[in-house]
């Protein structure tokens, strides 16, 4: 972390609405407000964790950043340049600066390409290698960096285990030496004992590089807390709290964060006996028709009438601890 305060990514009031169309003329009848005003920053060398339940928009945020979706509105500043509305032909050369690691290592690798090809293809696309020999060496090095034997380069994805496939996905993500890697649930599909291997690998890669940043998206707060420098909690398309993992665990402020924390059991019966449990009522409302004001007010244990009307904004309550709740002093 040589330049601690240099921003690599700044997302400002990002909105992504997906239209629901009906009929032959594809008339837009409603919108799914998947992301509804999200603002955050990632410094160079920092890991920001993005946690939330399914349908809260965390994956959509990740996909907007790499412009797999064109955002409805808002800014995405990458190294200070707004890429939210760059045309596709200019965007393509930008993409080598970021990489995605996907959840499912089974469906995210082309079954008809060899492992070496899967890992090395981005090098060819972005013209990052000079010769065949150079290419071969780079791919071998990538294999080694993720703990795969380079002799497996000519094998095909089905010959690998889930953990090995995820390593291939990581090697591919590293191939263009990106400055930001977006990890979308990278360990959720893996077995418990394999998860730790991948988490440690991702951590080593970051420590061994100069200024690599991660946006780590997951529904599993334990994993996010373990891995991140700061954690953002999302609920129904908005960020409700951002802080350090330590503060998040010791002093959560938003009622949703509190409920989320208490819902996750700690593998220790002695601690479990003394933990308070806040059980949220009901289900997450539909993002097609989210509740007015604070989206949590339908389930919130401390909601007051004003919560129905005011959309709470993220504000700093001290030491970079940001929370979006009018009940928090």
């Amino acid at each position: 972390m040589s330049m601690p305060d240099e921003l690599i990514l700044e997302v400002k009031d990002l909105k992504m609405y997906f239209p629901i169309t009906r009929g032959l003329l594809k008339k837009k009848v409603a919108y799914v407000k998947a992301v509804d005003g999200v603002t955050f920053k990632i410094k160079r060398g920092e890991t920001l964790g993005l946690v939330g339940e399914s349908g809260c928009g965390k994956t959509t945020v990740g996909r907007c950043i790499v412009r797999l979706y064109k955002p409805t509105s808002g800014q995405i500043l990458f190294n200070g340049k707004d890429i939210s509305s760059l045309p596709e032909n200019k965007m393509r050369s930008y993409r080598k600066n970021f990489a995605l690691i996907f959840q499912d290592p089974y469906s995210s690798l082309d079954p008809r390409q060899s492992a070496g090809n899967i890992v090395g293809e981005p090098l060819k696309i972005h013209n990052l290698v000079k010769s065949k020999k150079d290419y071969q060496e780079r791919v071998e090095k990538l294999f080694q960096s993720v703990g795969l034997d380079p002799s497996l380069m000519s094998r095909y994805p089905h010959e690998f285990s889930g953990g090995q496939r995820q390593r291939m996905g990581i090697a591919r993500a590293l191939s263009c030496e990106p400055s930001l890697i977006i990890c979308d649930e990278p360990v959720s599909a893996l077995d418990v004992s394999i998860q730790a291997q991948i988490i440690n690998l991702l951590q080593d890669l970051k420590e061994g590089s100069l200024g690599l940043s991660y946006l780590f998206i997951s529904h599993d707060l334990s994993v996010v807390k373990h891995f991140s420098d700061r954690v953002a909690v999302m609920y129904l398309g908005r960020i409700v709290e951002i802080t350090t993992p330590k503060k998040l665990y010791n002093n959560p402020l938003h009622p949703y964060t509190k409920a989320l924390l208490s819902a996750i059991p700690v593998p220790d019966p002695d601690i479990e006996e003394t933990r308070k449990r806040i059980i949220m009522k009901g289900d997450v409302p539909s993002p097609v028709n989210p509740p007015s004001g604070c989206a949590l007010h339908t389930r919130c244990p401390i909601a007051i009438p004003e919560c129905k009307e005011l959309v709470p904004l993220l504000r700093d309550v001290g030491g970079g601890h940001e929370v979006a709740c009018i009940r928090v002093k």
């Binding site: 339940e53 399914s54 285990s161 953990g163 077995d191 418990v192 004992s193 394999i194 998860q195 730790a196 291997q197 988490i199 440690n200 951590q203 529904h219 599993d220 707060l221 334990s222 994993v223 807390k225 373990h226 891995f227 993992p245 330590k246 665990y249 409920a259 989320l260 924390l261 208490s262 819902a263 996750i264 059991p265 700690v266 593998p267 220790d268 019966p269 002695d270 601690i271 479990e272 449990r277 059980i279 949220m280 289900d283 997450v284």
Partner: protein
Amino acid sequence: MVPILEVKNLRTQYKTESGLVKAVDGVSYYINEQEIVGVVGESGCGKSVTQLSVMRLINSPGEIVGGEILFEGQNLLQFKANGPEMRRIRGAKISMVFQEPMTSLNPVLTIGQQLIEILEVHLGMSRKNARQRVIEMLDLVGIPGASSRIDDYPHNFSGGMRQRVMIAMALLCNPKLIIADEPTTALDVTTQAQLFELMKSMVERFKSSLVIVTHNLGIVARYAHRIYIMYAGRIVEEGSCKEIFRNPRHPYTIGLLKSVPRLDDQEGKRLVPIEGMPPDLIQMPSTCAFLPRCSYSIEQCRVEPWPELRKVEGTKHYVRCYLKTEAWEQCRSHSATT
């Protein structure tokens, strides 16, 4: 206390083209009355197949090739899997909550039709009474507006609500034993917490026993009284919940506990992964199946066959391992080296 279910030396195998898969290879366990038991293991360890064997839901190419399943004094393996005796037990005295609430309800029948049928078949209730009872049960598991929602189809319900319907279904005939096989894997954590609290209060209310099959150590720490840890088709450790978490003994259990990130971890703590991969169930060694991944193995582990579950002296803790107490302690205190 007399256990309500006792499984002795159960063996279930699958004949596949690449060879014989010994999915469950000599598993013995028991469930006491009103007890919540956790069965923990990774995918492919045989935890689900064990439970499906108890329900006699193993289909070809799978086959139960040995053992006893004693329930209410009868060996369930003496009955035909689809015979009248098993049908009287399945869904009435032992019921199951499956992993996927999306696929385990029939999409073309209303919730009511599916639940009322159970009461008609098992308890011979009239349709009118059954309907009333189903509405009460749906209400009890927290489905708002149960009297109108009973006529909805499964697709009208969210994942969490469908799993509530499944729980209502499992409870309808007041079973002695409920088996919940990864009941919340596909669901969100806040929904997971709701459902487990519900299941716990329901089994207490109906005085049933509950088996929770899961890979999540946190869930068993929160809810189970007693725990079985499975690896490669066998039970490797058994003990009370507190004992297992305070003094884990099998290197696999210790490894599992160290490899999961915890909410209360100190900052900067490094996980200790279990290196290597689970064994191939087709080519199982006669020695301990965890041996290739175990960093504490001794000469005995390499030469002698995998030991049986043995009682640790002075405890109610059973473990399938040759190591001595000192080695276990060393194993527990070992932290990340790299």
